[in-house]
Amino acid sequence: MESPALTIGSITKSFGSNSVLLGIDLALAPGEVTVLMGANGAGKSTLVKIICGVYQADGGSMSLAGQPYQPRNAAEAIADGVVTVHQNIDDGVIPDLDVANNLLLDRLTQRDAPLFVRERTMRKEAKQHADAMGITVPVTARVADLGIADRQMIGIARAMARAPKVLILDEPTSSLSSQESKRLFNLIDRLRDQGVAILYISHRMTDIRRVANRIIAMRNGKVAGVFEGDNIDYEAAVTAMLGHSLSDVTLPAVERGKPVLQISGMQLKPDWPAFDLTAHAGEVIAVTGLLGSGKSMLASAIFGTRKPHSANMSIDDTPYLPTHPQDAVERGVFMSPKDRGNNAVVGAFDIANNMTVPFLSAFSRFSLLSGRKQREAARRMIDDIGVVCQSDADGIGTLSGGNQQKVMIARWLLKECRVLLLDEPFQGVDLGARRDIGEYIRNTAQERATIIFVSEVDEALEVADRVIVMNEGDITGDHTNQQLDVSLLLSQITSSHAA
């Protein structure tokens, strides 16, 4: 190996009492793609944020081409030639500006940049970068009007426009179709040949097989294994990342009860096809797909927060047409939404109040709340689902992400329901909490139909009896989770209808 472009030595980081990184060592060689694998909560994103200057490490050191490297903020990292494409697309683009401005935005932050923006030269240069990336949208289009994949490509194109020495790509394909991914991979090949050191974060095996020179598996804040050479042992890497191999997860087959939620002719958007879906009592269904595949839209359609183009739904053979979450809750359809910080957590409330907020009428008489009843119910749930806390009166903000999520899920398990929808229930949740939640959901699932919407395949495999694949608004795969063909599943997720 050539002398490394970036070396990281025993980096540690904790947030409060929550240790996220427990001493990470790694080195990135120029002209090599190092893949960093790790399940949700392994600490990948934290590590990335330390390398690109967003967080400061608590301990350890970094050096860039032999020189000490200690970025205090994002600007310093970029100035040193360490460029990052962040996982969250919305952290990467400015919706109100046009494509050209977005591509060349960081030029404007440089001290020696001319005072006045030269719109025309900027557009010309942006056009070159866009063409090199195969971006077809006009550079004058406002980013807010573009689709997710285009936004993601713009975030990546901007990183390329900086001619980086070290390029970090944090799950760049999570919203790209296979064709768009191919474009990205070709570009990565080109940069690798130019001698750029690339850190590629993903746990998508098809991507990893395509680009990796070397794999570093992370688990629980530590490096669990390094795999390199001409024949990388991918299976071993996955095992190191998960602590067990993918096919190891065997869930007991469940008896399907009678159909609960029946959907027919569901057409989410006018130009998308219609599909049918039936969820039975007792089964846990995972709906998986890329961002923008329509799975969140399906969840909102069932919960009544977004009207689909056309649909027939029934619950227990009676027609069901929700126009508002209130209708849904009345019919026993509960949903724990994704992105709990924005959509679920009431920051000012303690655990008990956060848990009981949808069912306050059950805990009050003549509208007067009974704190005692609330707390009793909350305490039961805390014990059942295993929330780690001092008491039910702890502020929700004092809990770790995983425990907050447990509270959010418990909220909808307080009452019996017919259909439980969980949209990305494992987002920002560590492995331990993820297991607890999955187990609890499965243990309580007998009477109801449970549908979990997840974008990560391993999460789907870990918890569901049936895995359904959505792609561009259609169901493209329906698997029972017994001897499931993982590579077929993955190709159904990423294949593009156009291709």
Binding site: C52, A74, I94, P95, D96, T109
Partner: protein, 341 residues
């Protein structure tokens, strides 16, 4: 087919609706209000909107970084009192008075900015607090009295200083353009500042980054923008603009009147918000702000000349503001929806 036609109509309405409405108003008043379509009347309108317009340009800068400055009205009246105090009681020159006021505006903007970015006080609350503080502060040196030459001071003496002629020139001089003594200095100042702020926000890299901060602060940070510094700068611009407004007001009045400038805050915020609707920008912009201020001015002048009573003015302003906000938000939302479907 009809859908695309509807879309085009909607786009047209969003872009040019407000400007067409303004041109329509001008034509209507020209036809039905005698004397409306004259240079003197045009200058009168400009003069009536110059002060609020200047303050509104400052508010625009804070709106661009997704902030808000409620203290501008009180910064302007503080500048009014400070200029009077420095000339009448401290007997300083016009130049000193102007510099003092500008410095005060920048300083208050700096404090606002620091409160918001360093102490993490939400923008509305920080500037609301500053507003109260300034309203109180400007009354302390004179024990709540207005300042005028010849007023008696607490120590028994009489204030000897006067508003210098040079200072009054700023507020009262009129340049000869077409007609003799037509265009007053504040109008020139307003137009120059509007062009400067427009160029700053629209053409320079600093302005572009400020828009980026307002649209997505995280993303702006991650490309290496010094978000905090730009936010502070925005509040400093706002403070300086407000103090310029206060200087012009003092120069026009010729005394430190404790009771004037009450409407400045609301009028200028309204102008900046109306500006969102101009050319379908859907975001704060200097051109829109200037047009917004003018729109209100034209409407009020026209109505006054058609003998509408003075007490209907605030109602009319409110109605225009609500209409403009509907233009901005409802139509833009419709547009977003139709492009998504």
């Amino acid at each position: 087919m009809t859908k695309t036609r509807n879309d085009r109509l909607l786009n047209f309405a969003i872009r040019y609706g407000f400007l067409l409405l303004m041109i329509g108003l001008i034509i209507y008043f020209s036809l039905f209000a005698p004397g409306f379509a004259t240079p003197r009347s045009a200058v009168f309108i400009l003069q009536s909107v110059a002060l609020t317009g200047i303050l509104a340009l400052g508010v625009t800068c804070t709106l661009v970084v997704d902030g808000f400055d409620l203290s501008i009205g009180s910064v302007a009246t503080s500048a009014l009192m400070l200029s009077a105090y420095s000339m009448v009681i401290l007997e300083q020159s016009a130049l000193v008075a102007v510099l003092l006021c500008l410095f005060m505006g920048a300083f208050i903007g700096l404090i606002n900015g620091l409160l918001i970015v360093k102490c993490r006080v939400p923008d509305l609350l920080a500037t609301l607090g500053m507003m109260f503080l300034l309203i109180g502060l400007q009354r302390i040196p004179t024990q709540g009295n207005s300042i005028a030459t010849g007023m008696s001071l607490p120590d028994g003496n009489v204030a000897e200083g006067t508003f210098s002629a040079a200072f009054l020139w700023i507020g009262r001089h009129r340049f000869d353009v077409v007609l003799e003594r037509l265009v007053p200095v504040p109008v020139i100042v307003f137009i120059v500042l509007a062009v400067v702020i427009w160029a700053f926000l629209g053409l320079t890299r600093h302005g572009r980054l400020m828009y980026a901060i307002g649209s997505n602060e995280r993303a702006a940070t991650l490309v290496g923008t010094n978000v905090n510094r730009y936010k502070i700068v925005a509040y400093m611009i706002s403070g300086v603009m407000a103090s310029i407004g206060g200087i012009l007001l003092a120069a026009r009045l010729g005394r430190g009147d404790i009771a004037s400038g009450n409407n400045l805050l609301l009028d200028s915020v309204a102008a900046a918000l109306i500006g969102f609707a101009v050319l379908g920008a859907s975001r704060p912009n200097a051109f829109g702000t200037a047009i917004g201020a003018l729109f209100v001015g034209i409407l009020l002048q026209g109505l006054t000349m058609m003998n509408a009573p003075y007490y209907t003015q605030d109602f009319v302003k409110g109605a225009v503001l609500v209409l403009a906000l509907v233009f901005t938000f409802y139509l833009a939302w419709r547009k977003g929806n139709s492009s998504e479907a």
